[in-house]
């Protein structure tokens, strides 16, 4: 698998560290259900997935990667905050 870092270009997956689902949002409330969902519940899709990776053996930037969990195809990658829909 190869991942494109916005700063360093296309690099081998081994340079990156995986963090997980990029779509979960920290709740702006003290509601227990919202916090359970945030800490523990995941959509875990079988197909396209937005996820956070860190270019740990490179520029160390956090990036959002859109990747297919079934085929491992990487569609897109960008810096967090760049996509207004996230």
């Amino acid at each position: 698998m190869k991942i494109k870092c916005p700063y360093c270009g296309v690099r081998d997956q081994g340079e990156f560290s995986y963090e997980g689902d990029a779509t979960i949002k920290r709740p702006q409330t003290d509601d227990a259900d919202a916090w359970r969902e945030y800490v523990y519940s995941r959509n875990n899709p079988r197909g396209p997935h937005k996820e956070l990776w860190s270019h740990i053996a490179g520029c160390r930037a956090w990036i959002v990667v859109e990747r297919n969990t079934l085929t491992h195809e990487v569609y897109n990658s960008y810096l967090p905050g760049e996509n207004k829909d996230d």
Binding site: Y40, N43, N44, R67, H72
Partner: protein, 417 residues
């Protein structure tokens, strides 16, 4: 037909032409008392114990592929109960006790071999942690022995005990009653046992949707038609969330790929199961002679039933550090299975908020050894609509209530368990 020496001779004399298939291949009926989704080890064991322990035989097991084609046929066959936390310890020890009588009970040789499971330690801190775990195990009535470096060398002499070892071996934690079993035979044995008691095995039957009346489950839509049932148990670890998604449930689970490897066949070389303590690596030898080994997850969400090369390299590096003689052995095959990685590393076997729907999932790396007990307690939960004492802690609401069963203390990071 009961398998016995007598029947073997009888069939040999008739040229082995009269053996019957081990299970039928029936058409699905329109209605069952209980449906089990997933014809892997846990689903088949559940169907078997529903019939054997609870007399519930109007049961079908629905399998989207073929019986035993998923993780039960893809694991590294290790059986152990060396857990520290109470809920896990009692559950896995119940499983190990069932393993000890399983071949007799099923009248099917699952080739369970109690050759011991040894976890290596490489630092004084690890030895302390193993002493603590061994004490916890013994207090729970489970066998455990702490070996020092010399005892470890006597037990398994072919590891790297030299001055050059990157991670010198300090000792290890041995569970003598642990071992391995023939994974396919476990699936086949449970399938045959359930079939003999009247359970229908429906293969090539993928569940595509659920029938509900309000908050009560009524059946499933499948690629082989609609099938109704009063109770439905899900045992589809790896793909649990793709089914629960159809019910609007989100679970504390991520799917990750775990790879396994087998080498070319060798003469008897390793007569136990040994795990590396300075990285994630485990190895044993199959009865055919191949070394069976594995290591870490691939570390990112994946449903691909295949691995990726960086992990292959990492696993084999760990192997070489522990057992340098691996260097000249060729890998014959490697493959991947999809794990339900739960948020605390422990399974979920429970009723749900939907009446008549039961969940068996979140097995992480540990599903194979749990197969008999998982079936045992899941059958109990389905039959009685309440958990068995050994799965009472494996609930879904433990996450919101703070009763996590986090053996590794790794927190809500599925890949870390």
């Amino acid at each position: 037909m009961r398998y016995s020496g007598f029947n073997l001779i009888k069939n040999a004399l008739s040229g082995h032409k009269n053996w019957q298939p081990a299970w039928r291949d029936p058409e699905p009926k329109s209605d069952y008392d209980v449906l089990i989704i997933g014809g892997g080890g846990h689903g088949l064991a559940t169907a078997y114990y529903l019939a054997r322990n609870h007399g519930i035989t109007n049961v079908a097991v629905l399998e989207k592929g073929y019986l035993g084609g998923g993780n039960v046929g893809r694991n590294t066959t290790i059986v152990r109960s060396n857990y520290m936390l109470k809920a896990n310890a009692h559950f896995y020890e119940h499983s190990l006790k069932l393993w000890e009588g399983l071949s007799q009970d099923l009248n099917y040789n699952v080739m369970f071999s109690q050759r011991g499971v040894l976890n290596l330690a490489h630092t004084p801190g690890q030895m302390d942690a193993y002493a603590r775990r061994a004490n916890a195990m013994r207090l729970n009535g489970i066998d455990a022995e702490l070996l020092d470096r010399e005892q470890t060398r006597q037990f398994i002499p072919m590891l790297d005990y030299s001055e050059n070892a990157r991670f010198p071996i300090a000792g290890g934690l041995l569970q003598p009653r642990g071992g391995t079993a023939r994974h396919d035979a476990v699936a086949w044995g449970f399938a045959r046992g359930a079939d003999l008691r009247g359970v229908d095995m429906i293969q090539n039957c993928e569940v595509t949707g659920f029938l509900r009346d309000g908050n009560t489950i009524q059946g499933v839509e499948t690629t082989r038609g609609t099938i109704r049932a009063k109770k439905i148990g899900l045992a589809v670890a790896g793909n649990t969330t793709t089914l629960t998604e159809k019910l609007g449930m989100r679970l504390p689970i991520e799917s990750h790929v775990l790879q396994a490897f087998v080498t070319e066949g060798l003469k008897p070389f390793i007569d136990t199961v040994v795990t590396f303590g300075a990285g994630h690596f485990y190895i044993s030898q199959s009865d055919k002679g191949g070394l069976v080994l594995g290591g870490d997850l691939d570390y990112y969400n994946s449903y691909a039933q295949r691995g990726n090369l960086p992990t292959v390299e990492h696993v084999l590096e760990c192997g070489m550090a522990m057992l340098p003689s691996l260097s000249r052995i060729r890998i014959l095959r490697h493959w991947g299975g999809v794990m339900d990685m739960s948020m605390d590393g422990s399974p979920i076997i429970t009723k749900t908020s939907i009446k008549g729907l039961y969940l068996n999932c979140g097995w992480c790396y540990g599903g194979f050894k749990a197969t008999p007990a998982s079936g045992w307690v899941f059958a109990h939960t389905i039959a009685n609509d309440q958990p068995h004492e050994y799965n009472a802690a494996f609930t879904l609401d433990r996450f919101e209530k703070g009763y996590l069963i986090d053996e590794r203390g790794a927190g809500p990071v599925p890949k870390a368990h």
